[in-house]
């Protein structure tokens, strides 16, 4: 079976790709957390 042998696993790529999904997720969690805090005020 033919496989892709290019180096696709550069650490910077890894960090960038994780940041790409975690930044919007973190923003969403922060917005929800702010809303949830109203319960304890």
């Amino acid at each position: 079976m033919e496989t892709t042998n290019k180096s696709e696993s550069h650490p910077i790529l890894l960090v960038l790709f994780w940041a790409y999904v975690l930044i919007p997720l973190g923003w969403g969690v922060y917005q929800t957390f702010k809303k949830a805090m109203a319960l304890f005020q």
């Binding site: 079976m1 033919e2 496989t3 696709e8 696993s9 790409y20 809303k35 109203a38």
Partner: protein
Amino acid sequence: MSGFFSKERITASHGYNRWLIPPAALAVHLCIGQAYAFSVFNEPLTRILGVKESLPEDWKLTTIGWIYSLAIVFLGLSAAFGGKWLEKVGPRRTMFTAACCFGGGFILSAIGIKLHQIWLLYLGYGVIGGCGLGLGYVSPVSTLIKWFPDRRGMATGMAIMGFGGGAMVGAPLSVMLMKHFHSDTSTGVMETFAVMGVLYFTSMVIGSLAIRIPPPDWKPAGWTPPTEEKKMVTKRHVHIDQALKTPQFYLLWLILCLNVTAGIGILGQASVMIQEMFKGRITPEAAAGFVGLLSLFNMGGRFVWSSASDFFGRKNTYFLFFALGTFLYSMLPNFSSEGNILLFIAAAAVILSMYGGGFSTIPAYLADIFGTKYVGGIHGRLLTAWSTAGVLGPVLVNYIREYQVAHGVAKADAYTTTLYIMACLLATGFVCNLLMREVHEKHYMRHDQVDDDSLNG
């Protein structure tokens, strides 16, 4: 073009870093998770013509409600029918198709809003978008299981956590966009749909481009597959069609369906429930905060519980879900009558974390029982349990409550019966899980059948 999407093209080299796969899956699940936040559009969609207030010609809430219901039904149908196709063509083509359906569904709905044609929204977000939801949901899950044979639960938990998180991104993003595009002549919903369609399409395509499948003989560095076959974790494979002939498939279907129905029992009416059960002590703002808190636990539970199931075992994890869930549901009316808000909130939060955990642990449970080869397709068919619970759950809960209120039961007490019924559903789930055994010998594929199928697939 077909080569670009082929399984051969996306088969990674042995040195490929498997930690690039979870963000590819998250890029898709964070988008399709928006479905949970669809309700933010409900009210603005009722005043498309009137803008400031609803006109008689504007759509009614009951008319709009069908958009989400259709999307959930088509999620289940497309996952059930598309799962087998996914195993044949691989995750890149399926994820790309999901991106076209989900993004395209938003764009078609935007046109529907512009022309004020509700059937375009039913077709756009409901049917086509729903197909995008189903295909997008199942496509990265089996790939993750193959990349993380040592941590199946954690791997599926990461992706399915994204689905829970998608609503947290989708809801404030929609509100922000609607505010931005709002004018004297527009509610801003049409423009928001168009922008979100483009955004979600782009993000899902990025996920589909990044996805890779492991080479056939690949295993994680330093990991040796256990030499002895663990009880309830098979090394063999059951074909998708054969899986439907096993009692295990139907037991797992019931397990998922009951767990989801019970979770919806709280999630669907959390805001009203806490305000009525603690009358005068919980403001509408605090109730909205309660819903937010439950969403956080729903999302966190998806990762935490499925990761924990790698250590406890899948069957034990579901035992805990059902036993603890039954106990906590039965205690909620007591906490309410004692006026103990803190315990009520804590119990509801734990229940919701197990609701999320039930979603994310099920693919790993399927892989343990039926093997990893066709887990994507089998998972797709099992998701019809979610569609069933998504439609029946709220109906069941609302009808029981309405019936009681109509028969003179106080609003605060009307929830008691509902909560006890939810506890009974979870107790039934406990029995289903208790009945789970390994698949009978006759259902497994022979080695030559697995190899033949690999060549054809």
